[in-house]
């Protein structure tokens, strides 16, 4: 499957990297996505998990700033999708709801997922394209 150029879905490591500024890659990426008018999907569960991984109020403020970008579309986990996400989590992500939520959004929109190498297997198992963090 080829990912659409119109949008991307973020997994936890990508969002946490952007908020904490662990590298410059994700922040540069947001600038490019914004300049080209492409959408950035942030599952609400991914945002919650990323927030858990941030160490300071300053990093949380950067997360809020990132998500407030007009480019970013935060997508809640609806009750209608909860069952499918739970199933995906159990089958492919070792019970990780955030990863499964990202996968569901990516599958429906035919968008690529940005994640870390150690989390890529589940996405690939269900036929999604991934871009690995450097």
């Amino acid at each position: 499957m080829t990912g659409s150029v119109s949008g991307r879905v973020l997994d936890v490591p990508a969002l946490a990297d952007a908020a904490a500024g662990r590298s410059e890659y994700m922040r540069a990426w947001l600038a490019v996505m914004t300049r080209f008018g492409h959408a950035v999907a942030v599952p609400s569960t991914v945002r919650a998990r990323a927030a858990d991984q941030l160490a300071s109020a300053a990093e949380l403020a950067e997360l809020d700033w990132f998500c407030a970008s007009g480019t970013v579309l935060e997508i809640p986990l609806s009750s209608a999708d909860a069952g499918e996400v739970s199933q995906l989590a159990g089958d492919h992500f070792g019970g990780d709801i955030a990863a499964a939520h990202a996968a569901l959004i990516a599958r429906r929109r035919h968008w690529l997922v940005i994640t870390s190498e150690d989390r890529a297997t589940g996405f690939r198992e269900i036929g999604l394209d991934v871009e690995l963090l450097p």
Binding site: V5, E24, Y25, R27, A28, W29, A31, V32, L112
Partner: protein, 98 residues
């Protein structure tokens, strides 16, 4: 807001779609449609500059990866940076056990 009349050239296919959108009530006229599209692009670029001002400047290597991850056209020199990134990632992988 003050306005200025300008002459622009559009691809025929684009113009056909713009006129169809106007006929469908999506914009008051062709000028309005084009003006809105240009305004949206200006706003996007302003927002991107805001990000670059807050978090940049970004290295050419980061921009090369960002372009690939965003699915936009590569610039000259990107391939070398991307090869470097991929090599660094490979070097971090634990060696396969014998």
């Amino acid at each position: 807001m003050a306005t200025t009349k300008v002459t622009i050239t559009l691809d025929d296919e684009v113009l056909t779609r713009v006129r169809a959108a106007v006929a469908g009530g999506e914009a008051a006229n062709v000028s309005s449609y084009i003006s809105e599209a240009a305004s949206q692009r200006v706003a996007r670029e302003a927002r991107a500059e805001e990000i670059e001002h807050r978090w940049g400047p970004f290295s050419p290597k980061a921009m090369a990866w960002a372009r690939r991850a965003a699915g936009v056209t590569a610039e000259p020199g990107d391939a070398a940076y991307l090869a470097e990134i991929d090599a660094e990632r490979s070097a971090r992988r634990p060696a396969a056990s014998a």
